[in-house]
Subunit: 186 residues, 2 copies
DNA sequence: GCTAAATGCGACAGTGATGTCGCAGAATGG
DNA sequence: CCATTCTGCGACATCACTGTCGCATTTAGC
């Protein structure tokens, strides 16, 4: 390969395959060993180590990659958009990349202390959208953000879960949206 | 100790303490080592091994114990009880034993192939209650059991999760009940 | 076709968890 | 008070995963 920083072509594809494999396995079992990830990605363990020197490197890379997926799959909402519609888009986008989301949120303190993990101050994440939705009455006043946000990801998680079974993904997504909207209603 | 099968007294308490410790740790990290569980249970690793010969033995014991908790904490509903009320009692009972529930349902195929894991045939688990609730109109006709059941445990999981934080347990339970009932409404 | 990069294979030592012991002290029950 | 049981401590071999090599082979670029 050339000396450029940004990988592309075959190398980028291999890297993506490894991240996909890691997300798929670590979503279910965060203790899945490197060997299993390599096998799933159809690379040798040696190659995996050439892309990611150690476990921490792969965890970090998958963390930022998953966050990119989550944000990138869902363009920022216009400030005049209905916040509940924005949440719905965010939910549907998340279901499309289920493994990444499960990896991110399966264990709430998996990335505690990781500099790449977004701090959960009130200006980040879902909070502004939830606040706006509550101001509009789409979320009942007595539902705290902690519950709304956790339930959001639980519903997302469930949809990703169910669509791995016999419920088609689009149907799971519809059910998820419907369940979340009704859950939040006052 | 005598030769009786059923343990009681101090030995039963030690056993229960170990199971509690395992549930608490494994709920967050299933790869938590035996040493950590022993420490949390305030027993030596040797003693832990005297109660449960190997990891699999403890996993199995915790599985059946958690299922017992889940079912036992919730007396069978009278057949004339409103099915949605029965589900609510089941949900509230589950939240009381959050760690056990998280341990049971954090990874849907953690116990795949385990003979103690209830087969998901339609005559078991929540299915009869869900069917009755749907017949009464408390659950919309177009919500499949797969979604209802998975969402039930997701809501339960979320309540257990949130009540480990700054939301008091009774409030989390109320939010969970409310969210589930509204999610299912037609 | 030639060169350089990328990959697979196998080996290696290091590490942490596991499961098994024996022994000595503490707790328990008659 | 004595015998039995339970427990903690530390040692031990074993195992699986990890991270690092060197070398041979394949692949890709010019």
């Amino acid at each position: 390969m050339t000396t450029e920083q940004i990988e592309r072509g075959a190398r980028a594809r291999t890297r993506a395959a490894i991240l996909d494999a890691a997300a798929a396995l670590w979503a279910r079992d965060f203790s899945a060993p490197f060997g299993a990830i390599a096998e799933r990605a159809e690379v040798s363990r040696s190659t995996l180590h050439r892309y990611f020197a150690d476990r921490q490197a792969l965890v970090d890379a998958l963390l930022v990659d998953s966050l990119d997926h989550l944000n990138g799959a869902d363009p920022e909402s216009a400030s005049d958009e209905d916040p509940m519609d924005a949440l719905e888009r965010h939910l549907r986008a998340g279901i499309e990349i289920g493994d990444r989301v499960i990896f991110l949120f399966a264990d709430p303190d998996r990335f505690a202390g990781n500099p790449n993990w977004p701090a959960d101050d009130s200006s980040e994440g879902l909070t502004p959208l939830l606040d706006r939705a509550r101001a509009e009455g789409a979320i009942a006043a007595d539902i705290p953000n902690a519950w709304a946000e956790n339930l959001f990801y639980a519903v997302l998680y469930t949809a990703a879960e169910v669509s791995a079974g016999d419920v088609p993904r689009h149907m799971a997504a519809d059910l998820a949206v419907r369940s979340f909207r009704r859950s939040m209603a006052g």
